[in-house]
């Protein structure tokens, strides 16, 4: 499968080899516009794969909510860890 060689920066993350990771990260667009367009593309990919389908089920939103719960736990970990270590509540 010897196609034309693709520049490292334009490959998708899963196609980047481990040694090329540094180059890949360095070439990405970290300007505010770049970040916003990356978020928008990610959102569109998720939306078109799980929600904007003919027979979408509850799973599309459920994954979002589960991710939200996980993210909230991560946010509150510093606060919650004291509850585990405490003897009397």
């Amino acid at each position: 499968m010897a196609d034309r060689p693709v520049p490292v920066v334009e490959k998708r993350l899963m196609d980047v080899k481990l040694g090329e990771l540094g180059t890949w990260l360095g070439g990405r667009d970290f300007t505010p516009n770049g970040l916003i367009s990356a978020l928008r593309k990610g959102h569109d990919r998720y939306y078109n794969k799980y929600i904007n389908v003919k027979k979408g089920g509850f799973g599309g939103i459920a994954m979002l909510l589960a991710g939200y719960v996980a993210l909230s736990y991560l946010w509150e970990y510093d606060h919650i860890k004291h509850d585990r270590w405490r003897k009397y509540h």
Partner: protein, 227 residues
């Protein structure tokens, strides 16, 4: 220690960003923009149908002028409903438990209805301060009472929402702690307490929806009087 039960209402920071920022931004991601297709996906169809039904019901008692508030009232309802319901998930933060947010929503909207009434139909708006058929002796006292009742409306709106949600969350945490601590000591009592917790959670879901609705309904009532 009793003080730790209120810790759930403090928004923790992570990398400098408070959790309340993410909690407020989240409802925006759950409601996709309506598309121009004739047949959209299930989420959009459901969303369109429910918002249309709700807005139609809400705007029934309002006159033509009041219909300008349709977008504001509908989006307020969706916002409050999502914030309340999302707060019932584990480890999440409910922004509507903060009095600052609720007063920030209630006071400007109430003030807008009052100013609209005073500007466009001042006599009619002031006429609400005296109900029909009061005996002449009672008029001065009643006007004072009605003015106080008018001025207390925004505080009532904000505090009602805050108190209901805060009390609910606090109760859930208290009963959950009790049932967790009782488990090694008296398992039967712990099972009963868990059943109580289950019923309480159902109540909280209902309260979350009802309180959002009450907020918007009262606002539409205040609008109806003044517009």
């Amino acid at each position: 220690m009793a003080l730790s039960f209120f810790d759930q209402f403090m928004s923790p920071n992570f990398l400098g960003i408070p959790l309340i920022a993410m909690a407020i931004a989240l409802p925006w991601t759950l409601y996709p923009t309506p598309s121009t297709r004739w047949l959209s996906n299930r989420l959009l169809t459901l969303q369109n149908w429910s918002i249309n039904r709700f807005t139609q019901q809400l705007l029934l008692p309002l006159n033509q002028e009041g219909h300008k508030w349709a977008a504001l009232l509908a989006s307020l309802m969706i916002f409050l409903l999502s914030l309340n319901m999302l707060g019932l998930l584990p480890y999440t933060f409910t922004p509507t438990t903060q009095l600052s947010l609720n007063l920030g929503l209630a006071v400007p909207l109430w003030l807008a209805t009052v100013i609209i009434g005073m500007r466009n139909r001042p006599t009619h708006a002031l006429g609400h301060l005296l109900p029909e058929g009061t005996p002449s002796l009672l008029i001065p006292i009643l006007i004072i009472i009605e003015t106080i009742s008018l001025l207390i409306r925004p505080i009532a709106l904000g505090v009602r929402l805050t108190a209901n949600l805060t009390a609910g969350h606090l109760l859930i945490q208290l009963i959950a702690t009790a049932s967790f601590v009782l488990l090694p000591l008296m398992p039967t009592v712990a099972v009963l307490t868990t059943a109580l917790l289950f019923l309480l959670t159902l109540l909280e879901v209902a309260v979350a929806m009802i309180q959002a609705y009450v907020f918007v309904l009262l606002l539409s009532l205040y609008l109806q009087e003044n517009v």
